[in-house]
């Protein structure tokens, strides 16, 4: 089967302005959402207690709410269904430092009159630990970006590195926008999803850039826009297909992977779509805007080649001379 077959390169660059505007709008909207609404931090970062309770029958959620709110210690507890109507999650802002008899145990005793249930999960993160995790998370993000930036600068050229990082920021921003919009709870797993998007989005961008690098050497046209159009067209099938396979698996993860990782898979789902879009429509135009010049690049490449050749020649002469 073949879907992507075209005689002529597609005109991506002609439309790059339209996509650029769309991207800017999306990014601005996302950042605006982040600033106005803000993250819905889960207990990993905000600290607090989460208790997951599964009832034998339908969970008496109102009764649970009433019981908890009547108790001074648990005022403001948030109770929601979790995955099914038999399972609920109770979130409390406070933690207890007692090792033996903790908040989870207290809630259990308190709820004992509400029916037949099993406490399936108790997560408690103290504020100090939460702060440390946040710090570590940001650090990880930053280090990953720096590492990747350095690698691409070495393998390609600085403009490619900048373009890929801009594309990356674009993807992360929009993913963040989606997380804020849908009030996905931000925990450690969302951080992992973000870093995966980071890797994935770059992965896509690099495949395209690799083709452009190759195109610069093989395509006769001195116009960058034409080289980009042809290169992006040639990788379009791959980009779409891989995104499709990744999309399949992330979708199954989202649909069947269970409630606990649904936030994680949702973030990935958004990331896969945005990452694909950006590697086709965002990363390459940035190369143009950064005034990447084919002739300069070719001249530089030629110069490097020449130097290497001269070196080899000199070495050969040197060796011959000594023998």
């Amino acid at each position: 089967m073949e879907i992507f077959k075209y005689k002529k390169p597609l005109g991506f660059m002609e439309n790059s302005k339209k996509f650029g505007i769309m991207s800017i709008v999306l990014v601005v909207l996302s950042l605006g959402l982040l600033l106005t609404k803000g993250f819905n931090y889960g207990i990993d970062f905000a600290g607090g207690t989460l208790i997951q309770v599964q009832y034998k029958d339908i969970a008496p959620i109102n009764e649970v709410r009433d019981t908890l709110n009547k108790n001074q210690d648990f005022k403001g507890a948030v109770v929601t269904f979790f995955g099914s109507d038999k399972e609920i999650v109770i979130k409390i802002k406070t933690v207890s430092s007692a090792v033996g008899d903790d908040i989870g145990d207290k809630v259990k005793t308190l709820l004992s009159s509400t029916g037949d249930f099993e406490v399936r999960r108790v997560d408690m993160v103290g504020p100090k630990v939460g702060g440390e995790l946040k710090e570590k998370g940001l650090m990880a993000m930053l280090l990953a970006i720096i590492g990747i930036l350095m690698y691409i600068s070495v393998r390609f050229e600085w403009r490619f590195a900048v373009a890929s990082v801009v594309a990356l920021m674009h993807d992360i921003s929009i993913a963040i926008g989606a997380i804020v919009l849908f009030q996905v709870e931000v925990n450690l797993d969302i951080l992992a999803a973000m870093l995966t998007i980071l890797g994935y989005s770059l992965n896509d961008t690099i495949i395209v850039f690799d083709r452009i690098r190759e195109g610069i050497a093989t395509i006769k046209s001195p116009k960058l826009s034409e080289v980009i159009d042809e290169s992006v067209s040639k990788t379009l099938s791959r980009t779409t297909l891989t995104s499709l396979t990744t999309f399949f698996v992330v979708l199954t993860l989202y649909l069947f992977g269970g409630e606990i990782i649904s936030g994680f898979s949702f973030t990935l789902l958004v990331g896969v779509i945005i990452g694909t879009y950006s590697s086709i429509f965002v990363a390459s135009p940035i190369l143009m805007w950064l005034k990447f010049s084919i002739s300069d690049y070719r001249a530089k490449e030629a110069a490097t080649l020449k130097r290497e050749k001269e070196k080899e020649k000199m070495r050969a002469q040197f060796e011959q001379g000594t023998i």
Partner: protein, 519 residues
């Protein structure tokens, strides 16, 4: 000629299958993947240590030693007090000063003292305080490990984390009740003290404030079960550090109680004190609760005693374990706790396995439909990749977590990427009119740099995640990393070898069957 790529790929496949069998069948023999706490259920805790209390109790025990030594040397002194981390007492006889100085210097290390007109004030040295704090953490790790071992739990992890935290991981806890019991065992201070009742003032205990008691070098403690209060001498006669054994026994009414045995020094102190204090009461105090306060009828020799307190059998059993493994020099408190019940873990395994199988099938079928035989070859590499991930994780005894499962699922999607890139290149070259063997060789050559660069960047992100992530997230980074490395072997080298060895069979007229294209 035997194709070296096929040889390596076959070895990798056999290696993968052989070493992942123990994990897949969960057999006893061979190295296996351990399931993370989030998949098999269990308790994860990060504990803090109140080291300042270790220092306070160290000062108390120094005071007890001073008191006992002075008594033994027949030095007469006024009430020994601890005030703001300073031990203070006053001699009555000027002639004793030199004697006391030499006794203190000889018997007790790690202190500095001042003497001013018969009043001695004694402090711990700063080095001693630091050493006490450090020791408290190390001792807490050992003690908690010891308790969990004695409780009979399979493979608990107790380790120091960072400077002053303790990580405790206990897998395979069956019920929430068991989990709470284990937590109580971990958190119990298990400080046993024998304390003298201040018989002169005990009658006033109900109206006395803590501050007033402090003035008399006393402390007010309440009974473990009843609201009764006792006025006790602040400095204990002896503490649990002189305990050699603790066992559950039964009294006449067949109620469980705890019998304990003291070491030689403890037995002597106990004997001496009881001999001197006939007719007075001595309280058995555990974790600042009075369990009993019997009247001493005669000198108690042999260093044996018991704690009775209307125990439940289970409670007595756990207290005996805690006493045997020793007291926590400093109390511990929860910084972070995560507990997952076994049923939730099982549900997570089920859900993520379904996602893995469905995702895998979707990708496999898609590849065959789109690429024909080339897709089949890519699928073979994908299967080998999965086995390799499991095998490598098994060999390292790595932990599989829920995000780790997600990592494997994601790897399935991304590992075929290499083959998609290669197949697209091959198709391109065939369209251009290259021969099949030329198309395959050039296809692999052209695709290589792109695959390499893309994989390295993903790997950089994964490594950073591994270094900075905790627990389950580490598991995700690990599976992704192994998956990427394995895919280089299976998806690039492996499939290349397969093409080379079946090259003669590829029919130029059946490109649709082999590569899914019509020319």
């Amino acid at each position: 000629m035997v194709n070296y790529r096929v040889v390596i790929f076959s070895f990798a496949l056999i290696f993968g299958v052989v070493f992942s069998i123990p994990s897949l069948t969960q057999s006893d023999a061979g190295k296996k993947i351990t399931l993370g706490l989030d998949l098999q259920g269990g308790l994860h805790m990060l504990l803090g240590v109140k080291t300042e209390e270790a220092v306070a109790s160290h000062i108390k025990s120094v005071a007890a030693t001073i008191k006992y030594t002075l008594d033994e040397n027949e030095v007469i002194f006024d009430e020994l007090k601890i005030d703001n981390e300073t031990i203070k007492f006053e001699l009555l006889d000027q002639d004793d000063v030199v004697k006391v100085k030499s006794i203190i210097q000889k018997e007790i290390t790690g202190i500095v003292f001042k003497e001013n007109s018969l009043i001695f004030s004694i402090n711990l040295t700063p080095e001693e305080i630091i050493a006490t704090e450090k020791n408290a953490i190390i001792q807490a790790v050992d003690t908690i490990r010891n308790r969990l071992d004695q409780f009979g739990l399979a493979e608990p992890t107790v380790a120091k984390q960072g400077e002053d935290k303790i990580l405790v991981e206990v897998p395979g806890i069956e019920t929430a009740e068991d989990e709470q019991r284990i937590r109580e065992l971990i958190g119990r201070s298990a400080v046993l003290q024998m304390m003298a009742v201040d018989e002169d003032r005990d009658s006033r205990v109900l109206t006395m404030s803590d501050a007033e008691a402090k003035k008399y070098a006393d402390v007010i403690l309440s009974d473990v079960k009843t609201p009764q209060k006792y006025l006790l001498k602040e400095i204990p006669i002896l503490d649990g550090s002189m305990l050699t054994d603790a066992k559950v026994g039964f009294d006449e009414q067949n109620q469980p109680l705890i019998n304990f045995t003291l070491n030689g020094q403890g037995a002597k102190i106990f004997g001496d004190f009881s001999g001197k204090s006939v007719g007075r009461r001595m309280a058995v105090v555990l974790d600042n609760k009075v369990y009993s306060a019997p009247v001493i009828r005669e000198r108690i020799g042999g260093g044996r005693g018991q704690i009775s307190g209307n125990f439940e059998m289970q409670e007595a059993h756990d207290i005996a374990i805690a006493l045997r493994s020793g007291a926590l020099l400093a109390p511990v408190y929860t910084l972070e706790k995560r507990s997952v019940g076994p049923s939730l873990g099982a549900d997570s395994i089920k859900a993520s396995s379904i996602a893995l199988i469905l995702g895998f099938l979707a990708v496999v079928v898609f590849m065959i439909i789109y690429y024909g035989m080339a897709g089949v070859i890519a699928d073979i590499a994908l299967v080998a990749n999965l086995f390799l991930i499991l095998a490598v994780m098994s060999l390292f005894g790595a932990t599989l977590t829920l995000p780790g499962m997600a990592g494997i699922v994601l790897t399935v999607g991304m590992a075929v990427d290499a083959n998609v890139i290669i197949n697209e290149r091959i198709r391109e070259l065939i369209h251009k009119g290259s021969s099949i063997s030329k198309a395959i060789e050039s296809g692999y050559n052209n695709a290589f740099t792109a695959i390499w660069d893309a994989n390295i960047t993903t790997l950089i992100a994964a490594v950073v995640l591994y270094a900075y992530g905790t627990g389950p997230i580490k598991g995700f980074a690990l599976t992704i990393s192994i998956g990427i490395l394995a895919s280089m072997l299976t998806a690039i080298l492996g499939t290349h070898g397969i093409y080379q060895s079946i090259l003669h069979k590829i029919d130029k007229k059946r490109l649709d069957y082999w590569f899914g294209i019509k020319v």
